[in-house]
């Protein structure tokens, strides 16, 4: 049954299950709340089936519901782009729900469980909205429900601060989107997306719309410099919600940008790509420089989300540039890179956050320098996290490399741009992406090495226990997805072709059917670029196993345990291990002075003194200081100065009113 629009009805049912679960959770007693995860998993599975079917049958289903604005109603539309992002959202929800099923009864809370399905429903609904009112309503619902989840543990002042900054940024973002849709609707006020598609905007208005959409959706996606809330809020939420916020909600923001720029805004201008490429490249490297220094496992992952959003932005920017320059195949490759990276990132970031949640639950800490050696106590979580860490470092044959490879293929087409700026920017982007790839590996080797390898640095880490079955299952399933997504990235890219044709105008830029094997990913044509993950993986696996077998058979397989060598001075104390801060010290010396003026002060007691030694590292976050704190302070002092107005005498108020009246009259007389 392909026709008949059952997919949209199925999605309505899924939404109803989410909403029903949220409502029921409000009224049920606390220890029964675990059912929201079962309900959400069921709804997500149904939605995944509907999204897959809608995507592959290339259906476009529309519906108009008699709710919402009077006279406008609520327009609903399910098309390829919605279905693709719906798939991302619901796979993330399914995994987070399976993980949630492993949460202990005692840990269930009225502050979290009722909001969880509401958040999931809102993200799904944003993707289906086909008019500005519905979109903004669900967007705001998504923001507020996630905000409530962030402040669910409000006894921690850090979480309250995170919630405050997030609420401000989310409100500002929604406001900006309101302006964007206002601009798109124009003076006639057609708030349905169909009317917007048909209308033509002047260049000035479209530039303003683009700016507002970039601010609104970009701040939700966490692009630098609008990212300040993200490393605060994402780690503050419960871990499975962090996984959804980082892995999935940022993708909803990417969806909003793609929808506005590629669908609603009309034919792109070449310079639209500039903010995407510049912000994307800046975020990719900038966020990693923070991630590589961070001491908090979950905040490190949040910074890495900003990096990956930067990579997706770069792909989107290149796609806009190629599309406006009328080079459809390259636009297709770049858009495919962005979309596949969105999919891949939702998988490995969910995996890493869920794994971090398991670690946090098991040890009670997410400070890197208090962890260590978890591979002994949490073998499954450790093995899966390793796959996630290697995947996010864009190492073959895992999935992160597929999108990276496609993006480099798009960058290599850069010199065909007619505009000199773009021709100059594409190698710059290539260099930044290359730098980001190198730093990402350093960041995740450091994180994995300090958390899972080595010896435990605290009693909590030494007494860790493996996560419950449901949680390791969710993490393991995501690890399998990362592997499959890497091996069969070519098929994923091929499946995206209808979307690429629709939004980038590229007819079959990505081809798998003519390659040497059915799984080869071919960019442009066969003579130009082929990436064949299964072949490479096959060769690596065969060489590894053959070598191991040969050595074990013909040479030696004797093994002995003995104290570590450590250059002859093994120290029994785990404190002699490299910590996370010592690990990042070389990187801090290389990059830190420029980027965040890191300074180290060493207070070493003189020989013989029994005083404690101290070592301090100080960072300056310039973006936070100059773009957030300084404007906020300026606003504050300005409002304090105007505070005087509240305490004037009646004579002065009368003078004020009178002079205002005169000024207005003069203005009217002059200009009217």
């Amino acid at each position: 049954m392909t026709g008949a629009g059952w997919q949209l009805q199925a999605l309505f049912v899924a939404l109803a299950i989410y909403a029903g679960a949220a409502l029921a959770a409000v009224f049920l007693p606390r220890h029964r709340l675990g059912f929201v995860y079962a309900a959400s998993a069921a709804a997500a599975s149904l939605a995944i089936a509907a999204d897959i079917s809608a995507f592959f049958n290339e259906v476009v289903l529309k519906e108009q519901l008699p709710v919402g604005l009077p006279g406008v109603g609520l327009h609903i539309r399910l098309d390829g782009l919605s279905a693709f992002f719906g798939f991302i959202v619901n796979v993330g929800v399914l995994m987070a729900s399976i993980y949630g099923a492993g949460i202990k009864r005692a840990d269930l809370s009225k502050r979290i469980e009722p909001l969880y399905p509401a958040f999931c429903a809102a993200m799904n609904a944003v993707l289906l909205a086909d008019d500005a009112f519905g979109f903004l309503f669900f967007w705001e619902l998504m923001s507020l429900s996630s905000w409530a989840l962030v402040v669910s543990r409000h006894d921690d002042p850090d979480n309250r601060k995170a919630g405050y900054v997030y609420l401000l940024m989310a409100a500002g973002g929604t406001m900006a989107l309101l302006f964007a849709f206002g601009g798109l609707a124009g003076a006639s006020g057609g708030y349905a997306f169909d009317t917007m598609r048909a209308s033509h905007l002047t260049p000035l208005v479209s530039a303003l719309v683009l700016g507002a959409a970039l601010f609104g959706a970009g701040s939700k996606a966490g692009i630098m410099p609008l990212h300040a809330w993200l490393p605060l809020a994402h780690p503050a939420a419960p871990s499975h919600v962090s996984a959804l916020m980082s892995g999935v909600m940022t993708k909803v923001a990417i969806y909003a940008l793609i929808r506005v720029v590629f669908d609603l805004l009309g034919d792109p201008q070449w310079w639209w790509s500039l903010p995407f490429i510049l912000l994307g490249a800046g975020s990719a490297v900038g966020a990693l420089l923070y991630a590589v220094q961070d001491q908090d496992l979950k905040r490190l992952l949040a910074y890495s989300t900003i990096e990956n959003v930067g990579i997706i932005f770069a792909g989107v920017g290149l796609a806009i540039a190629f599309k406006s320059s009328n080079i459809p195949p390259a636009a297709g490759i770049a858009l495919a890179a962005a979309l596949i990276h969105a999919l891949n990132h939702s998988w490995f970031k969910s995996l890493l956050f869920l794994g971090a949640g398991a670690v946090l639950h098991s040890t009670g800490t997410k400070q890197l320098d208090r962890l260590g050696g978890l591979i002994h106590r949490m073998p499954k979580t450790s093995a899966f996290w390793l796959i996630g860490a290697l995947a996010i470092s864009a190492l073959p044959p895992l999935n992160g490399f597929v999108s990276e490879w496609l993006l480099f293929q798009a960058v290599l087409t850069g010199p065909v741009f007619p505009e000199p700026i773009l021709r100059f920017l594409s190698p710059v982007l290539g260099a930044m992406l290359a730098l980001a790839a190198g730093l990402a590996a350093a960041c995740f080797v450091r994180a994995y090495g300090t958390v899972f390898l080595g010896r435990p640095r605290s009693p909590e880490a030494a007494n860790a226990h493996e996560a419950p079955f449901a949680q390791t299952l969710a993490i393991g399933l995501l690890a399998v997805l990362c592997i499959l997504g890497g091996l069969f990235g070519g098929l994923t890219a091929f499946a995206l072709n209808p979307l690429l044709v629709e939004y980038a105008g590229a007819a079959a830029a990505i081809n798998t059917q003519t390659g040497p094997t059915p799984f080869s990913l071919i960019a442009f044509d066969q003579g130009r670029a082929i990436y064949d993950a299964p072949t490479i993986a096959f060769f690596v696996a065969v060489s590894a196993f053959a070598t191991m077998a040969a050595i074990h058979l013909f040479a030696s397989k004797k093994t002995r345990r003995s104290p570590a060598w450590d250059c002859g001075f093994p120290d029994p104390s785990p404190a002699t291990q490299y910590t996370a801060s010592s690990y990042s010290q070389p990187l801090r010396r290389v990059y830190g002075g420029v980027v965040y003026s890191s300074t180290e002060t060493v207070d070493m007691p003189p020989p013989g003194s029994l005083r404690e030694g101290h070592f301090h590292i100080r960072f300056s976050d310039y973006i936070w200081r100059f773009l957030y704190v300084m404007p906020a302070n300026a606003l504050w002092s300005l409002s304090e100065r105007f505070d005087l107005i509240h305490y004037l005498t009646i004579r002065r108020y009368l003078v004020l009113m009178f002079s205002t009246l005169i000024v207005l009259l003069v203005i009217t007389a002059t200009f009217m």
């Binding site: 490399f401 290539g430 790839a437 590996a441 291990q577």
Partner: protein, 321 residues
């Protein structure tokens, strides 16, 4: 299908050929260094004997070492071996040459490096951490530089497939391109850093505070150490082959080469390999190792060169249009 079988055998032969000659390349470099220091030095076949000795010995594991520590050497070896086998050495047309993508090649080397840097942390000792941390600092500059070099050449050739790149370079009339010269310098610097050679790292040192690569493998012994050593030899050969393939591919047998062409291919490749190994030895005795934090400037130079190369290559296309 005999044609498929033949190319399969050719591919396999290339893989084992690279594996077989790799230790000798290290041996030659060591011999040259020893002779220049007026020592007699071990035979160039000493690395083979070392590997054989290590493989036969029992492996001593630290108490904290896990499955990851034990399996990483095989994975590192396999990643490096496959990467080395992907570089066209003798001839450009082999069966699985379509898998030889430059971006994938750089990433395969990156995967081997990440696994080694992780394995170094497993035993939970101070030196493993030092080595791992420094290695990733070096890699954070070396990997982007090598990627940019690869992209520069790939862009000039219009493809990221290494055999096609080599084919393009063989058939290209001989001319000196500024971008290639810059890329060459960058790749040579990267090669020295990646292979832990002087001036970035000293392969012969066990002086605690200067080690990078040696610190990472400090806890390894027996067959595991042999695998890592073999991977090190392969990596050196890989980088030399890559430099040969990208910058000096003359003599390489073309796609449909005759027996004579193959003979020339083998002869010229071996000659170039020996020359490079000798040059490396001469270079290493004539320069001192730098401090660890000078390395970032050295590699930053390589990154800048590589960036200038790709910039020139991208912008010079404008002139041709």
């Amino acid at each position: 299908m005999p044609a498929t079988l033949q190319s399969f055998v050719a591919q396999g032969a290339q893989m084992f050929f690279v594996l077989a000659i790799a230790p000798a390349v290290t041996g030659i470099t060591r011999k040259v260094k020893a002779r220049l220091m007026r020592r007699r030095g071990p035979s160039i076949f000493q690395p083979y004997r070392d590997l054989l000795k290590l493989v036969r010995k029992e492996s001593v594991l630290a108490p904290n070492a896990t499955w990851f520590f034990r399996s990483a050497p095989y994975m590192i070896f396999a990643f490096t071996w496959v990467a080395a086998a992907l570089v066209p050495t003798l001839a450009s047309g082999l069966m699985f040459n379509w898998a030889a993508d430059v971006v994938a090649l750089v990433a395969l080397i990156g995967a081997a490096r990440a696994l080694l840097a992780l394995a170094a942390m497993d035993a939970g000792t101070a030196f493993g951490g030092i080595g791992s941390s420094r290695e990733m600092m070096i890699a954070s500059l070396a990997e982007p530089a090598s990627l940019l070099v690869a992209l520069t050449i790939a862009f000039a050739a219009g493809t990221t497939r290494l055999p096609e790149v080599a084919q393009f370079l063989i058939t290209q009339p001989l001319e000196i391109r500024v971008s290639f010269a810059l890329a060459f310098v960058a790749l040579v610097i990267v090669a020295m850093a990646e292979n832990a050679r002087i001036p970035v790292d000293n392969p012969a040192t066990h002086l605690e505070l200067t080690m990078v690569h040696e610190a990472m493998v400090l806890e390894y012994s027996g067959r595991h150490l042999a695998m890592i050593e073999a991977a090190g030899h392969l990596k050196l050969t890989l980088y030399i082959s890559l430099i040969i393939c990208l910058f000096l591919p003359f003599g390489m047998a073309p796609f449909d080469g005759s027996a004579d062409a193959w003979a020339i291919g083998i002869g010229s490749y071996l000659a170039k390999l020996v020359l490079a190994a000798v040059a490396l030895g001469v270079w290493e005795v004539s320069i001192a190792k730098m401090r660890v934090f000078r390395v970032s400037e050295f590699l930053g130079g390589a990154f800048t060169f590589a960036f200038l190369a790709i910039l020139l290559e991208f912008l010079s296309r404008e002139v041709q249009r």
